[in-house]
């Protein structure tokens, strides 16, 4: 492998695969040759048992360079993942094994509360859909473009597959983000909470639940993504755009709104006991702080 690296011309197969009018795009990429060699090297170090000719990989890569964005995509490319996908598309046995070991194996964790038999079924459908071509159509894994991690792409498809496999009612269950659960997540679990009387505890959870339901959709979605699905601030920044501090502020605002609702719920029930109200609110607030803090790490 190292012997042919110098003589190996990677630019040519890549260029030849591109339509004539787009070839100029490649000229604009600084140090293209070195960049391609780097991508191949990383991919081969990542998957030493997978044997995929470099030219094949380059041709595959060329198909995934969107017009006008060649340079941008090459810079952010998940080269090793794309390499694996390309090798899987050409039915390389060790690539298929690597896919099984390193991608599919992580899928069950990501599907959360599915039953084991359903997980098996999802995996089986995934194998069929992604790895098996039909007629002239190459396996679907060939359409993976390397812009995000392969595992992310497969994970999303897996979720969709799971959604198809279960009945509609079950799907509600599957994707449901019941206010109770969010409320429970937000409800404090520290010793002080344990010391609360049972009725106070229920009051708190009940108020949280109501507050979550009346929260505007956007704020609710944000809190769910963050607290329920565990998206980090960094990830949310990528999804919401703008600056990290901007997103952090949005989360903080949503949270303040939620607390406001909780207060509205609690206040009439704790009319006489301002102290109890404040201490309950303090508990929720500190819990939110803790979980925010955890996410910001």
């Amino acid at each position: 492998m190292s012997a042919d690296r110098k003589t190996d011309d990677l630019v040519t197969p890549l260029r030849e695969q591109l339509p004539r009018e787009r070839r100029a795009e490649l000229e604009a990429v600084d140090g293209l040759d070195a960049l391609l060699h780097k991508i191949v090297e990383v991919a081969r170090t990542g998957w030493p048992t997978v044997s995929l000719p470099a030219e094949d990989f380059m041709r595959h890569l060329a198909r995934h360079l969107p017009p006008g964005k060649a340079s941008e995509v090459l810079r952010i490319l998940h080269g090793a993942d794309l390499y694996l996908a390309c090798a899987c598309a050409s039915a390389d046995p060790s690539a298929l094994r690597a896919f099984e070991q390193n991608i599919l194996r992580h899928i069950p964790h990501r599907l959360g509360r599915l039953s084991p038999s359903l997980v098996d079924e999802v995996l089986q459908v995934l194998r069929e859909r992604l790895l098996v071509g039909s007629g002239n159509t190459p396996p679907r894994i060939a359409t993976y473009g390397g812009r995000g991690p392969l595992l992310t792409w497969v994970g999303i498809i897996a979720a969709r597959v799971a959604g198809e496999l279960v009945g509609q009612d079950e799907r509600h269950q599957l994707v449901a983000e019941p206010p109770e659960e969010l409320a429970q997540l937000l409800a404090p679990s520290d010793p002080e909470y344990a010391l609360l009387r049972e009725d106070a505890r229920q009051l708190l959870v009940e108020s949280l639940r109501k507050a979550v339901t009346v929260l505007p959709e956007q704020e609710r979605a944000l809190l769910r993504l963050h607290h329920f699905h565990g998206f980090t601030m960094d990830r949310l920044t990528l999804m919401y755009g703008g600056s990290r501090s901007g997103v952090a502020r949005r989360v903080a605002d949503a949270r303040r709104l939620l607390l406001e609702h909780v207060r509205m719920e609690l206040a009439p029930r704790l009319k006489q006991d301002q102290l109890a109200l404040e201490s309950l609110l303090g508990l929720v607030s500190s819990r939110l702080d803790i979980s925010l803090h955890g996410m910001l790490e």
Partner: protein, 1055 residues
């Protein structure tokens, strides 16, 4: 309780609000991937975001895609690490390898010894990668738990699963013999083949009945013992492993087809595909009928000398099987058509064309029983109709039994299982996950066992309507099922406390085999049919109360039982009333209300006697012993013990292991509290043996007995054994309860005390801190437990001279104990004595005397005038008298203590050393050195007897004798004894009480100075200096001794 508002809607109907369903407008996967990576254009991003905000489906998909795993370099895990080979003498967990037995597809098998249980085992080492290991281990463990309950003569018993380095090991019954594959190498008569396969089939069928699928049945996995018994082995493991290794096999998968040859050669992935059912090659899940196919392939091979289907590749093999292309037999055998036909049906390509169960296949294979021949005779007479009728009845019975077994869903349906899991996880406790794993494993196994036994009894009852025991067994099993249902219902609302106590909850689920194994004895009385529905309902509610009680939610439990007692007033059914009263009384007892407990327990006893319910009678007596113990009412104790013993005997000690172990434990604890150590030890040892035999080495009961024995060893002054026993118990409980479980506090406390007993104070303090932290993190603080920790920490602080630390700890502990246990309880006396010792250390001996006198008065009130529990306060008061110069009072107290100790533990008990030594001291002080020497020598003999010469006791006895000799003017005799004591006390790594070493050093210094003809002056001064530094480090406690040493030093320095 029942009207408690649930914190989540149990109906499972999620509130959807305004959420939309996934629509065709949901973004493509690529778009979502790019969205997550922040690669979309601003406009596109905004529109996707707007969609995601209103689409729960997409949020869920995004969550599944979201992750930070970096893939590059992950492929290192593709390389299989070769399993380390083990050599004879190597240890795997507690097993000692004796040699290799063979190598299989998944690993190497070794013969090994289990020194703990004194048996030989087969150790199978399975390779697994580090990352998968824990998951694999968990799954194997779950499977193993199910298997472990499947005691069948044709299934290899699995004892243990664990990890060893990177490998997972299975410890199994060691079968000496050969594999079926080896046996099949030469042609066997078909009758012999059939016998062997019918046995193997029974093993498989038993597993199926328990809900287990083998997944890899083949001749190489079946063993023939020396005496011809057949054992099926490796259940489920192959399936687990191949799932880990990669995708289920797919013949159309080019990767697998291409590498088939090498795979079959190394056998690593596939084993031998020839035995696989065709549907498994297509990636379907294994079930009982795929096992049936494998079984028939092997049987075909054994009968006809060739496998039924041939193929070079998986694809060809699968095609042959699907098209039913059988290869011709290698040898012509005169096998009956009946058998041929049965084998062929089992080899059907479509699972639904095979026999519905393995049991049915076996019935078709089995030689026609004599009875059937008779039926045939009758049939020919009565005509075809008769046969059809018989057939129909059998069919119906099987169908009915299937329905019966389906009742299990009421207790442990997949839905309920999932809800319980969710409830556990929702508690957010750090050990929730581990607790769930253990709980689900145990309940799964219980459910599987229930299914097996219930099917068995239903079929038996159907076969012979006069078979009363089968009906009884069925009824007994149904009762247990309702108990399970109530328990699981309570588990659905699990909170932190429940999660903590989940292991105890499942431990209470037992007695299934008891339902089967006691056919001769009438089991629990059953209500008349008219009352049955009401009784069933009440028992169901009662099971909830029990579950609350086990989870230590006593007020909830009491609320349920109080309501039940009210409800049952009109219902005249004594056994039920007895059960409810028993639970009610027990909850009162656990809730520290012994008086109320006693009252209800007696009521339970009378109701049970009237209703002829022996089981409840026995349980009530056992509880009464315990309540009597906490009420400290010694006069009643003996009567209660006799009653309890008699009732357990009447019940049959082996029938109810739970009751029998409890009897041993209660008695050992009672005897211990009475100071009758020999009998306490006897009970603990018997209980331990029984518990290990019936419950396996790793049960909570076993741990309880280990702790109990540890307590006994402590009193016997066998410190190292004490520590060893408590550590073992802690280890078991950690494994069963989870490492963060607050229930471990008691175990940590005992381990810490054992460390302290060995002088390993730093370790003791560490351990107590661990316990304190656990108790503080617990959802509910338990006052008596907490007070015990306070008391013990205080004791150690005092020994280390930090009296200011000890005092507030004791002041906190005392009211806690008084409230929880009553003012005259031994625990309170312990605190008082400890407080007295703090004063003693400060030199305020009058206060010590006052406090110990009060302690003695209290213990006399609760335990009677002769109680050995008075020993400690007596000793402490004696010291205080001695230091105050009241030698006569000191001697009186010590002799009184000695008398009580000898009465309870027999003469010559090791613990009397602690009285003999101060007696010698008093004798010396009253100028009776000869008497002192006798006491010292008596003490020394005792240390020899229990081999504690090298302990602090031994050194003290030597010092004592040395001092006596010195007082008699025989310095030459004293010096060697003192030197030995000194070297024993100053052994490296033995941080003992500095005062003890200081005292010995000073006596040695004096002896050296008095050596005649030539005193060893230099060394004497040196020893005095040693004494000084040590006494100084003892703080205020060392002060009196220090003054003496310093005076001596000044005097000697002037010479």
């Amino acid at each position: 309780m029942r009207d408690r508002v649930p914190t989540s809607t149990p109906s499972g109907e999620p509130e959807r609000g305004t959420e939309s369903l996934p629509t065709p407008s949901c973004p493509q996967e690529v778009t979502l991937t790019d969205f997550l990576a922040g690669l979309l254009s601003e406009e596109h991003r905004a529109s996707v975001l707007a969609h995601v905000e209103s689409c729960a489906d997409c949020r869920w998909a995004l969550a599944a895609g979201n992750g930070t795993e970096v893939l590059a370099g992950a492929s290192t895990s593709l390389e299989q690490t070769p399993a380390q080979s083990l050599r004879p003498g190597d240890r795997v967990s507690r097993y000692v390898v004796t040699g290799p037995l063979g190598a299989g597809a998944m690993g190497v098998v070794y013969a090994a010894d289990d020194p703990e249980l004194g048996r030989r085992v087969a150790l199978k080492m399975l390779r697994s990668e580090g990352r998968q290991q824990e998951e694999l281990r968990q799954r194997l463990l779950r499977e193993a738990q199910a298997l472990a309950r499947l005691a069948h003569p044709n299934v290899v018993t699995l004892y243990d699963v664990g990890t060893h380095g990177e490998a997972v090991f299975l410890a199994m019954e060691l079968v000496e013999g050969i594999t079926l594959a080896e046996w099949m190498r030469e042609p066997r008569p078909w009758r012999e083949v059939l016998r062997v396969f019918l046995e193997a089939g029974k093993g498989l069928a038993a597993a199926h009945a328990a809900g287990l699928v083998h997944r890899d049945f083949k001749p190489a996995n079946t063993l023939l013992g020396r005496h011809g018994r057949v054992f099926v082995t490796d259940f489920g493991i192959a399936g687990q492993l191949s799932q880990e290794d990669g995708a289920p096999l797919r013949e159309d998968d080019p990767a697998h087809v291409a590498s088939l040859k090498s795979l079959t050669r190394t056998g690593q992935l596939l084993g031998t595909p020839a035995y696989l059912a065709p549907e498994l090659m297509q990636g379907q899940r294994a079930d009982a009928r795929s096992d049936e196919f494998s079984f028939c392939v092997a049987l075909h091979e054994a009968l006809f000398g060739s496998r039924p289907f041939q193929g070079e590749t998986l694809k060809e093999l699968g095609q042959a099987a699907r098209q039913g292309r059988l290869s011709p037999p290698k040898r012509e055998v005169n096998v009956p058509t009946r058998i041929r036909r049965a084998v062929l049906r089992g080899l059907s390509a479509r699972p639904e064309d095979r026999f519905p169960t393995l049991q049915a296949l076996l019935a078709a294979l089995a030689p026609p029983p004599r009875r059937r021949m008779l039926t045939w005779g009758v049939a020919t007479a009565t005509g075809l109709l008769g046969i059809l009728a018989t057939y129909g009845v059998t069919q119906r019975r099987e169908a009915r039994c299937e329905q019966e077994v389906e009742k299990l869903a009421a207790a442990w349906s997949p839905e309920r299982r999932e809800r319980v899991r969710a409830a556990f996880i929702a508690t957010g406790m750090p050990y929730a996950n581990a607790a769930w794993e253990r709980l689900s494993g145990a309940v799964d196994a219980y459910a599987a066992q229930w299914r097996t036994l219930r099917t068995e009894s239903c079929l038996a009852a159907g076969r012979d309507a006069s078979d009363i025991t089968a009906w009884q067994t069925a009824a007994c099993l149904d009762t247990r099922l309702w108990q399970l249902a109530a328990t699981t219902e309570v588990l659905e609302k699990a909170d932190a406390l429940m999660v903590e106590n989940a292991p105890q909850l499942t431990a209470s689920l037992e007695g299934l085999t008891g339902c089967r194994d006691t056919p001769g004895l009438t089991s629990r009385p059953q209500p008349p049919d008219a009352l049955r529905p009401r009784v069933d309902t009440a028992r169901h509610t009662l099971a909830q109360a029990r579950a609350h009680s086990l989870a230590r939610r006593y007020p909830e439990s009491l609320a349920v039982t109080s309501a039940l007692l009210e409800d049952l007033k009109g219902l005249d059914y004594k056994p039920l009333a007895a059960e409810v009263l028993l639970t009610h009384g027990m909850s009162h007892g656990e809730n520290d209300k012994p008086k109320e407990a006693e009252e209800f327990l007696y009521q339970a006893l009378w109701a049970a006697e009237a209703g002829r319910d022996d089981e409840t009678v026995a349980r009530a007596w056992l509880e009464l012993i315990w309540v009597g113990e906490s009420l400290s009412r010694p006069a009643d104790a003996e009567k209660l013990v006799r009653h309890a013993q008699a009732s357990v005997e009447r019940l049959g000690p082996e029938r109810f292991p739970d009751i029998t172990t409890k009897l041993h434990l209660r008695l050992s604890s009672l005897r211990f509290q009475q100071g009758n150590i020999a009998e306490a030890e006897q009970e603990a040892l018997q209980g331990l043996e029984f518990s290990r035999r019936r419950g396996g080495p790793d049960s909570l009961r076993t741990a309880e007995f280990l702790h109990q024995l540890g307590k006994i060893r402590m009193v016997q002054r066998r410190g190292k054994e004490t520590l060893e026993l408590h550590l073992q118990a802690l280890d078991i409980r950690k494994r069963l309860l989870g490492p963060d479980n607050p229930g471990l506090v008691a175990s940590y406390d005992r381990v810490a005390s054992a460390y302290k007993g060995l002088g390993r104070n730093a370790e003791a303090i560490d351990t107590w801190r661990t316990a304190m932290a656990l108790q503080e993190a617990a959802p509910v603080t338990e006052n008596a437990v907490f007070a015990t920790l306070l008391l013990n920490l205080a004791g150690l602080s005092r020994v280390e001279g930090r009296l200011a630390e000890a005092r507030p700890l004791l002041e906190r502990a005392r009211p806690l104990f008084e409230a929880a246990r009553g003012p005259d309880h031994f625990n309170v006396v312990q605190v008082l004595t400890e407080q007295a010792m703090v004063y003693g250390d400060e030199g305020q001996h009058d206060k010590t005397i006052a406090l110990t006198t009060e302690a003695l008065e209290r213990i006399r009130r609760s335990m009677g005038p002769d109680t050995p529990r008075a020993t400690l306060p007596l000793k402490i008061r004696a010291y205080a008298h001695m230091y105050s110069g009241n030698h006569r009072e000191a001697r009186r107290d010590l002799l009184e203590a000695l008398k009580r100790m000898e009465a309870s533990q027999g003469p010559g008990a090791a613990s009397t050393i602690s009285v003999l030594l101060p007696l010698a001291e008093v004798a010396l002080k009253t100028q009776a050195p000869q008497e002192a020497l006798e006491y010292c020598e008596q003490a020394w003999k005792l240390t020899e007897k229990v081999q504690s010469q090298e302990s602090a006791d031994g050194a003290n006895a030597l010092t004592c004798a040395g001092e006596a000799h010195l007082a008699l003017g025989a310095a030459a005799k004293a010096i060697p004894l003192l030197e030995r004591a000194w070297s024993s006390l100053t052994q490296p790594g033995r941080p003992g009480d500095p005062l003890v070493a200081g005292n010995t050093a000073f006596v040695l210094a004096r002896a050296l100075m008095e050596k005649r003809p030539s005193p060893d002056r230099a060394r004497a001064l040196m020893m005095a200096e040693e004494a000084r530094t040590r006494l100084e480090s003892g703080g205020v406690r060392g002060r009196p001794g220090l003054l003496l040493v310093q005076a001596w030093q000044r005097r000697e320095a002037k010479r």
